[in-house]
């Protein structure tokens, strides 16, 4: 399944770049993230509470960041497994300037298995987009808090 989408951040490209690839910000932005551990360079294993509406579950997974082109582009490879099923995907993320802010575009290829795959077909794309939006909103919040914190120092 292909999922693509866009997101606008108020913060600049250099700030967003820093936070989108920063383990601390990532951990803060991933919903219900309890464990987040670097297991290899640029590769983390994590546990998170993920869900949309009534379908929620604890997932364990792995995230890898690759092909960085500073402040403009990277590839995110993720896989996860939880009780409602599992999945894996690869997303290419592109950042461009948008006035004072940043425009992000993602294109992902995702496969899912288990109960989610058998019955979720109707809502998979919409769910994936919803989770992406939740994540981007959260990472922007992380970035804003961090920026305010350093400004207050």
């Amino acid at each position: 399944m292909r999922v693509d989408g866009e997101h606008r951040f108020d913060l600049s490209r250099s700030v967003m770049w820093e936070h989108l690839l920063n383990p601390e910000s990532l951990q803060g932005a991933i919903p219900g993230c309890t464990a987040f551990e670097e297991v290899a360079p640029e590769t983390w294993e994590l546990t998170a509470q993920v869900g949309v509406g009534p379908v929620r579950g604890t997932f364990t997974g792995r995230v890898e960041l690759r092909d960085r082109e500073p402040e403009s582009r990277y590839t995110l490879i993720a896989s996860g497994q939880g009780r409602p099923g599992g999945g894996q995907g690869e997303a290419v993320i592109n950042l461009t300037d948008d006035g004072d802010g940043t425009h992000l575009r993602y294109e992902a290829d995702v496969t899912v298995r288990g109960a989610i795959a058998r019955v979720g077909g109707r809502l998979l794309t919409a769910s994936a987009r919803t989770m992406a939006r939740q994540f981007f909103d959260a990472i922007e919040k992380e970035a804003k808090t961090a920026t305010e914190r350093s400004a207050a120092r």
Binding site: R56, P84, I116, G121, T125
Partner: protein, 281 residues
């Protein structure tokens, strides 16, 4: 098709339901008609540890009208809405939409409160309550509050309702002319798209319009450009065609039942039908 083990408790009052929820450990959920929650449990997409049955709470069922304001209790079933004499006289659009939900078994169990709280993107009643500018009445530990239906739905299964809050009722002013038009999925009867239109007409001119769509996107939402195009028009065929051509939806859903292009096209068609039916009422 067998759910995981769960505990079950029946609440005798709103306060008891909220207290049970607040005192519960793990994933406790309210259950009303069970026709959204139990299918998810059978597929193990939801695995609540406790079900708090609210279906026996007295005073949360039925339809009443007072001075042109219609009120519907959260536990009122779709079947009750479909044949309710107050609704048939004052807000037939609600009865009409409820009568198109699923099949008889689903309508006998499913409730308006459950339907709005669950906010399935393809469910019918959200579009109707948004078009009617209904108020959604909510009770929680901190007391009661009211949210406008247009602000209640915010995303995919996302509503303005905290974990320990209950919908108690829905109320709205009896519309002067309103109708619902739906393209239903042939198997489930869920809306591929459904459009509710509520019009105010004075001397042959449309002076106010609220039009809302469900099924097309992540949640029920107003079609602002359609409303603008209708306001001030004479609601003739050309005006209706022009207004429905403005039925653009952001973030259109795509699935086996229809591509983005198909849903967008059907949104225009069913917007036209809903407006025409409302204009003829």
């Amino acid at each position: 098709m067998i759910p995981s083990a769960f505990d079950y408790q029946r609440a005798g009052s709103i306060a008891e339901a909220i207290a049970l929820k607040q005192g519960a450990e793990g994933d406790a959920r309210f259950i009303a008609g069970g026709h959204s929650l139990i299918p998810l449990m059978k597929l193990r997409l939801a695995e609540p540890s406790l079900l708090i049955d609210i279906s026996g709470i007295p005073g949360l069922s039925g339809v009443s009208e007072d001075g042109g304001r219609v009120s519907i209790g959260a536990l009122t079933t779709h079947a009750e809405l479909e044949s309710d004499s107050v609704l048939l006289a004052s807000a037939p659009v609600v009865a009409e939409a409820a009568g198109e939900i699923g099949d008889q078994q689903v309508r006998n169990r499913g409730t308006i409160g459950g339907s709005l709280a669950h906010a399935d993107p393809a469910s019918d009643l959200p579009a109707v309550v948004v078009a009617l500018d209904a108020s959604i009445h909510i009770a929680g530990a901190g007391g009661e509050r009211t949210v406008a239906a247009g602000d209640f739905f915010s995303g995919l299964f996302e509503v303005d309702l905290a974990e320990d809050e209950l919908i108690t009722s829905v109320s709205f002013d009896a519309p002067s002319q309103a109708a619902y038009a739906k393209l239903r999925h042939p198997a489930s009867h869920f809306a591929i798209v459904g459009v509710a239109a509520s019009l105010t007409v004075e001397g042959g001119v449309c002076t106010g319009a609220r039009v809302a769509v469900t099924g097309a996107s992540t949640h029920a939402q107003r079609l602002g450009a359609v409303e603008e195009a209708l306001t001030g028009s004479s609601l003739d065929d050309d005006a209706i065609a022009a207004a429905s051509a403005a039925a653009d939806v952001d973030d259109v859903n795509a699935d086996l039942a229809g591509s983005e292009e198909y849903r967008q096209a059907m949104t225009r068609v069913f917007t036209g039908r809903a407006i025409a039916a409302a204009a003829a009422r």
